[in-house]
């Protein structure tokens, strides 16, 4: 940009205007062409005031609520626990602890249904709540900014904070990684581009100051110079609230971004806010950026300032079958059934989804607990899930246009259908983020994402088999070498023994001959 002094001269003004126009044009050209614009269905749920769920009588707290190794229980059945007490500790390098969401008695430690389409059972700690909500005593640092970044990160780690945007990667691991890879920019994801969901919106509206405080703490942990808060422009209330809260901190900038799915996906948001493209085989940290969700920032604030572990979250209850859609504050481990009962159902849901409609997983039934990463429970009615029968691909190119990664979904799907997974892989299948834009927009209603998930699974299995086979082959080869060596050694030893025997024989014969000679000589 030209300096003010220069700008006053007419020549420069003309140039400046032209530059402005070109910049605008470039900006328009650079505006995202990818993605889709689904009906967001966020209101009225987003505008309904936050409600708090009455404490359920039982909570089912899963041990694996994050990416990485499951936590290991440190309590026994029958034991009394308090709110915020550690009930399972992390194991391994990437893991997160789990805490009791309220006070009560450990009723069971064992298998329940996973919040995953497979519906496979998994480990959880069942707590019978006592209704007193008695918390453990905690110490909080008077001023966390005087602590070393690693100490703050340790507090976050101990609180079991994980990425709440859906990836559920342990936050402390991410922040520590940031420290190592010279992060310059912290991106705070307030995109919430999935339709129906509004929990992040609610957090920004109701707890903006806490979120901004969490952002400052994360800046402290990572050493990043600035934080860019990206919020989709369909949330004006959130933008206003966050701007107000961030006004005192020049290092934190609130940046509205166009509402377009999947704007909340890391790579898309990074590119929109910084112009940086994360290389395909790299992490965001490799280009000096880390991304954290606004709800994560809120959790960081609570962990550090109040010593409160991540034991509750705001969940959006929405969908055509819900009587009073809205956002509900609920302890982790609450059954989806309890939340739906609280919000009320208009009709029997035709489909239950945990997460958003674009990427969420179908729940086999409502007796599934919410976890740290559960942004929403959606109960769809018949009309919302009516999926017309798939037709042939008319090569319309809508999927190509919509794919935020620049893939050719139609070609990949054709390859998968033909069983040629390698061809699909060579088209970039591994870069696919399963965002669902292609399947959403397809006029022939081809379940493209299903094809890709299937192919990714197969390729992964093949890769694993290949590794296994290679390992077997290596073992076999090693065994052959060993056997050969042993055989060689054996025959060598045999030869040696034979040679020794022969030598001994010869020596004996020679001695005999000598003796005979001696005898003969003596006789002569």
């Amino acid at each position: 940009m030209a300096q003010t002094g220069e700008r006053d001269q007419p020549g420069f003004r003309l140039k400046d205007n032209a530059m402005g126009l070109i910049e605008k044009l470039l900006h328009n050209l650079k505006a995202p062409r990818w993605g889709v614009h689904p009906d967001d269905h966020k209101r009225p749920a987003a505008d309904a005031p936050l409600r708090t769920l009455p404490l359920p009588s039982r909570l089912y707290v899963p041990l694996l609520q994050h990416v990485g190794q499951p936590a290991r229980p440190v309590v026994l059945v029958g034991q009394e626990v308090r709110k915020g007490q550690l009930i399972a500790e992390p194991q391994g390098r990437i893991s997160a602890p789990v805490h009791a969401p309220t006070s009560g008695r450990i009723a069971a430690i064992g298998e329940i249904t996973a919040p995953h389409p497979s519906g496979l059972p998994f480990e959880a700690i069942t707590i019978e709540t006592d209704g007193h909500d008695r918390a453990v005593e905690v110490d909080v640092p008077a001023d966390p900014f005087t602590l070393a970044p690693a100490e703050v990160t340790a507090l976050i780690s101990a609180a079991g904070v994980v990425g709440l945007g859906g990836a559920t990667f342990p936050s402390s691991v991410k922040l520590a990684l940031g420290k190592r890879s010279e992060i310059t920019t912290l991106i705070v994801n307030g995109g919430e581009c999935e339709p129906y969901l509004s929990c992040d919106d609610r957090v920004m509206r109701d707890r903006a100051a806490d979120v901004i405080d969490g952002v400052r703490l994360m800046l402290h942990c990572t050493g990043a110079r600035e934080a860019l808060v990206g919020i989709e422009d369909n949330k004006p209330e959130a933008i206003a609230a966050m701007r107000r809260a961030a006004a005192r901190f020049p290092e934190i900038k609130v940046r509205p971004v166009p509402a377009r799915y999947p704007m909340g996906s890391d790579r898309q948001l990074i590119e929109t806010l910084t112009g940086k493209e994360v290389p395909s085989d790299c992490r965001a940290a490799d280009v000096g950026v880390i991304v954290n969700n606004v709800s994560t920032a809120n959790a960081v604030h609570r962990a550090v300032r109040r010593g409160e572990p991540l034991i509750e979250r705001i969940v959006t209850i929405n969908g055509g079958a819900v009587w009073q859609p809205g956002n509900i504050l609920a302890p982790i481990g609450t059954l989806a059934a309890d939340l739906l009962a609280f919000a009320g159902l208009k009709s029997e849901p035709a489909r239950l989804v945990m997460g958003g409609p674009m990427m969420g997983a179908v729940l086999p039934h409502a007796r599934v607990p919410i976890v740290k990463g559960s942004a929403g429970i959606l109960a769809f009615n018949e009309d919302e899930v009516a999926i017309p029968e798939a037709g042939p691909c008319i090569r319309c190119g809508n999927c190509v246009q919509a794919c935020p990664i620049g893939l050719l979904p139609l070609e990949m799907a054709a390859n998968v259908r033909a069983g040629d997974l390698q061809a699909a892989a060579s088209l970039g299948l591994s870069d696919c983020i399963s965002c669902g834009c292609c399947a959403y927009i397809c006029p022939s209603h081809i379940p493209l994402v299903q094809y890709f998930s299937h192919a990714k699974g197969e390729l992964w299995a093949q890769e694993r088999d290949k590794l296994r086979m290679e390992a077997t082959r290596k073992l076999a080869a090693e065994r052959a070498v060993r056997l050969e060596r042993e055989a060689a050694e054996k025959s060598e030893a045999a030869a040696r023994r034979k040679a020794e025997r022969d030598a001994a024989k010869r020596a004996e014969a020679a001695a005999m001959a000598a003796a005979e000679n001696a005898v003969t000589e003596a006789a002569e």
């Binding site: 493209e277 409609p357 029968e389 008319i394 070609e411």
Partner: protein, 362 residues
Amino acid sequence: MNLNQLQPPTAPHSLSANSVSRIMLTVLATLVPATTFGFWLYGWPALFLWIITVLAALLGEAACLKLAGNNALPTLSDGSALVTGWLLALSLPPWAPWWIGAVGGLFATMLAKQVFGGLGYNLFNPAMVARVFLLISFPVQMTVWIAPMPITSAAAPGFHDGLLIFLGNIPKPDAIASASLLGFAKTELSRGTDLLHSLVGSAYGISLAGARAGSLGETASLLIAAGGLVLLTLRIIAWHIPVSMIAGIAIPALVANAIDPARYLDVTSHLLSGGAMLGAFYIATDYVTSPNSKAGQLVFGFGCGFLTYVIRTWGGYPEGVAFAVLVLNACTPVIDRYLKPRILGRNWRGAPLDPAVERAKS
């Protein structure tokens, strides 16, 4: 493998309201003004020809589906056969006898589409395959054009005469037989008359009003273009093919006409004649037979336009849109192989970007 029946269903759980039949019906709706205008100019025979061509196309599709043992109704209702028949009808001489439309319609959906496996599997644009087939097999019937005479004018045939013309029972009155602009220019040039003289005083100048001999789609070029613009704004087609195809015709036409206006037609005549507009907005943009990346579409469109110009100017036929589109259709798989979109985080060759370069950006 049928993943459609897989349980449980996977994301996305919401779908857009878009559908194939919705796309096709929108395309047809944008063709209505041009077609009605054509009926008004060319009268009853044109209407009858349109009806039989569309019916034949539908019948061809239905027959093939029945033969294959499928229920024809769901496929017919996707509207694609209707679009094929309609576009073919727009590219025929409006007073051609009934069997031209019937043979063409059947050929388009049976041999140019269903034989390849139906919608989405054909390599060539069915309407253009049928048109070229008709042109080569019946060159006489396919090149008799008539001067437009609004249905209300005295010279226009009534319902009964129209039916007779349609059935090929009465010869067309000589007085109204005419030539298309491109055909006229070509004949005159081959007779040694240069364009500066041959076109003077002829009726060809007033093509904008549609008062020019040609197929329904040619005469109503501007309405066709308007329909195309509607499709563009509705994002049913992208701008890449129409713009590059128009450029492919306009650029060589501008250059050649500037060099020798006596020998080469001007840009406007080129763009508003023959199938240029119909081709650019409705034929070359056919989803199935055009490339799927933007870069590929630009190459494809420009190729269609340029080849059209070459055939019109130096080839044996006065019009070249159909041939040009078919040639480029054949190139589509190759274009698709070499011009792929760039994958995010990778360069054009598919190698991951350099993190150091991206880190330095701000």
